[in-house]
Symmetry: D2
Subunit: 354 residues, 4 copies
């Protein structure tokens, strides 16, 4: 099978580089168009991007010419991955969709639109059906599918088996988030060294609201939102990669920590059944040590590094009736961003929707 050529919008930034990494040696996709801002346009990617990741920049993208972020620049591909800032995505992504491109976007601009799938393939693969309505309503040949905010993805992956098997009433979550989540230049060293910042713009709103749509029920072209109640308080700490979340849950039924751990460990879903290339064998890894998960190793977790989340310290909660609490940590840049979009595209491909 020859590979499907794809584009990456905003390819030089942190998330863009993670896209390059996720798509390098991908069995189905191959980056053939890379876009960035005006200053980078016209340069080879190897020159335009200041590479921040390990391993080094893959050789096969070094000599791709970076173009400006518009429809003409991606005419040679049918699928584009978007690592654009939301202010730019808002304008560009619909134009791409109108021009017939499938846009697999990590930007927040269209996540909450009624006809735009907000996807975590392990959780709501059936929401892909929204795409048909999106095309009809908007008259597009292409379409936009989105993945949630990093904090939402890491949280919801851990919650999904409990939602299915026992039901969740209420969630309190307090996060300790990595620097890379703010982009390469987002947090100044003088701000965070020997310190923490108990605030991340818009993060709490996203963490509380995106899950209602993701966990919502799809029927007849509409998603009815879930009634789960979530309260989030978000902090930034001095960790390079890996968001960690302290979670308190009220379940619908009494469930022991042992049962919860079993449900999480055994959880598999559509991406695992379809054997999607970057679907981890085990989406949730449960650790039994008293002091896990820790972001320095959770960021690499799983057989597809960075695509599994790690749960630990699952224990009863003394406040809630049917309460459970635990910590979850995952890679905000991979499972929480670029890897999420790639998995979305893989699902579409496996469903013959590309």
């Amino acid at each position: 099978m020859s590979k499907i050529p794809v584009g990456i919008l905003g390819a030089t930034g942190m998330v863009g580089q993670r896209f390059i990494q996720s798509l390098s040696d991908h069995p189905w996709f191959e980056p053939k168009a890379l876009t960035a801002s005006e200053e980078s346009a016209g340069k080879m990617y190897g020159e335009a991007a200041k590479w921040h990741l390990y391993p080094s920049m893959p050789d096969d993208v070094k000599d791709i010419e970076v173009r400006t972020t518009d429809v003409e620049s991606v005419e040679n591909v049918d699928i584009v991955f978007s690592a654009l800032p939301s202010s730019i995505a808002e304008d560009v992504e619909p134009k791409m969709a109108e021009a017939g491109k499938i846009v697999a976007s990590n930007a927040s601009s269209y996540r909450m639109e009624d006809d735009v799938p907000l996807m975590i393939p392990e959780i709501n693969p059936e929401h892909l059906n929204l795409l048909r309505h999106q095309r009809n309503e908007r008259g597009w040949d292409g379409g936009i599918i989105t993945n949630p905010n990093c904090t939402t993805i890491i949280l919801l992956l851990a919650l999904k088996p409990l939602v299915d098997e026992v039901g969740i009433e209420r969630v309190f979550v307090s996060t300790m988030q990595a620097l890379s989540g703010a982009g390469y230049g987002g947090v100044k060293s003088m701000e965070i060294q020997d310190n923490l910042i108990p605030y991340i713009s818009k993060e709490e709103w996203k963490t509380e609201n995106e899950p209602l749509k993701i966990l919502g029920k799809y029927e007849d072209g509409e998603v009815t939102k879930s009634q789960i109640a979530i309260s989030a308080s978000c902090s930034r700490i001095a960790v390079l990669d890996g968001h960690t979340e302290s979670v308190f849950l009220e379940l619908e039924e009494d469930t022991s920590p042992t049962e919860v751990k079993r449900m999480m460990s055994e959880f598999k879903a559509v991406p695992q059944e379809l054997e999607l290339p970057t679907a981890p064998d085990q989406p949730i890894i449960v650790r039994e040590e008293p002091d896990r998960p820790q972001p320095r190793d959770a960021r690499h977790a799983g057989d597809v590094p960075g695509m599994s989340v790690v749960v630990g310290r699952v224990r009863e909660d003394p406040v809630f009736e049917n309460g459970i609490r635990f910590f979850v940590s995952g890679n905000n840049a991979i499972r929480g961003a670029a890897g999420a979009s790639v998995l979305n595209a893989e699902l579409m491909k496996a469903k013959d929707m590309l």
Copy 2:
């Protein structure tokens, strides 16, 4: 007035050094006896203690001879402050009390004993009355009074005005605690660099249980425990000093964030009325900026640096009926340890109990 000579048990460790600092230039107390382990005994304090704090070691303690931690070593003082590890405190503190010493202890060994005051002077000054019963029951001339764990103190100070004015049903708290809380050698750099540890031994139990006693009602020599329900999840992060806590509250009545901030800002109690020397003018400082409190400055907060806690991001909670959430940060080593014991002793002195 000539100063009251006091002793410090375990004077060379991190908390011991904070005691030295708090008692240096104290208007009422003067360190005259310092104890430590066998290796330090016989040396001058200036030589025995590897000083870790800023400012430098006060001159007046440098030439005090460090002695072993037993009753004979403190015969020249009637009051001793205990910075002992709990395993040693368990054995030594009763002997001191039996020998007629007032032991103002930061150790956890006797905190939860029925007849031992567990004190935060702004919260439960009347619990001091337990001391009379303690003496009667145990036949002691002296006695033991204790202060809570650092995390408990910082949390409860912030909660106290709400407990009084509206009542609190339930509390979820997720902490981000400083390295110094584990003692100078407690956390290895390889463990915490670019990482966090979502576990602190016994910390959650203390944070959930100590408040029940502290907020309990004293009557006829007994404390009836409070019914407040608390769930705590504790993490260690790479911050030198200053614990920060993410708090979610269910109040008994609907109360706006503005009202909550007013209650906290205006809160004053017995230590302020008595003008105790190290009582901060304002025990709770409320910050209005979107990104506070931060431990790097909260650790110095207040007119008595380190004795106030800082609250920020007070906002409604979407999950609880009558919900409120906020962050609080305070100095674990001062308000949360040595300064707490000193304030306890000041209260006793002001009440003519020394």
Copy 3:
């Protein structure tokens, strides 16, 4: 004596805030004019400046209206301290001098001009005489005096007693510099977390060249540069404040480490003789412990915190004939910047040159 009103140019940035701090409660000077960029102009300082330091912003500057950085804005003062970036200082400082102001500048723009004193009061107080020539030549009523780059000051203070007593031939210095030296936003957290950056723009040139002028001999309105040979390699590390320098020296005569330490410890100079308000009693503090100096405490060193440098590990060098090597650490923001300018102004005042 009523205090002398002074201005601070660029008062809202990191160095500007250090000027505020150094001049707060100063016995001779009082900030009466504060300038900043257009966005801040018109606001009260308390509102315009995001305060980054401990202790908190002094009350007496909070209600000073910040103005744009031009001559009209400082008409009520005769002396201005400049914390301007060099690109702006280049234009503004001569205008100030022409308008009759004494400009005590931390900017690099005019440091190497032949007729501009580049001063460390302990080292070359006689260079102040250049000011007369500067005024004559340029037809100014005021004038510009400068202090060196932070790295230069910390190095040269440590070297000065050796220059005087035995002579220095050659210097190799490798630095480990603090984040604050790059300004509040200068270093991104993603760059420096778990890393170091072996490069600081222009720093090596300054460290190698400024000393030649400072150690130069003043005669008849001219400074003849010193012949000392210096090679510098500069790195940034994850430390908030305090530059540390690893120094290798070739002396003109065989001198033991003991002798070197004596020379450094006993070093006093004109600022100490004149008892200038912010002159430390001991400019160089020599530590005997095997593992000092360390920036976390060296940043506060001395009786005027941050104005002394700390030397440690003085030992023979096995490569140079008459070789000596040591480490020196000092506060880049105080002794290395704002405090340096203030000390310069104090010297002028003591010499009746204001």
Copy 4:
């Protein structure tokens, strides 16, 4: 070819784990015996070792029973790699050699013995001949070969092409070393957070003296030491892995930075010619960016990750005649420790000495 079974002495510590990693999937060697201290003996390795590295512990060592560190425990192997602390190595290694084992040691105990090869395969492969004399003199069937201290290896690899092509007279080196170099528990977080420590026990002596032997000339069973003069000042900084060194050189002949970079980039030696399995294709990688090398990426450098060193900022030195200065950074735990011993063993195998 079936693999050669090998042992690892001190297999549970930081360096021991790096040995496990280097030998996992090694084409020639296979770990078959693992030793550690009494507490670990009898447990499976998977249980005995608290694994600190990424990726996770290789499966094939998990079920090897850890034994005490003595000759009986390694009877099933002829080659042992030693990650022992020097105090234990001093006693154990000769017993192993006497019992016929080849000991490839990272310990410092025997490095400077006249008849013990102190090896960097790219630099002094002919020193392996010392082994014959060692056996003769000591009557051993086996033997001890050692690799240098981490700081020495990283420095000397960078210097070797210059030693060969132009000659080096004098070296000043100031280091910024990683936490892992002190072992997992070696540096306390309270010591190094927001700080540096300008001292590492015995490190400077090793860095100054080991090169004299390594660069020495082997003839007739003896190594005549090199006359190169080295002065080292060593600091610990808050970096997990990767030592960085600031180097100042006096060369024997005038050589341009361009020439130096060419010599370094083109440098290949015996391990490359023999295509040893873990020999990097390019032992020295020269970076042209203004701000490299940085340890966060240099720690992974090369086609065999961690086995190349990275040089940057090669420039003229203004102090030395024929002076050159640069920075070099390399992985202290791989090229500087476990990987060094493995490369030594590979060289012996390729020379049919195993």
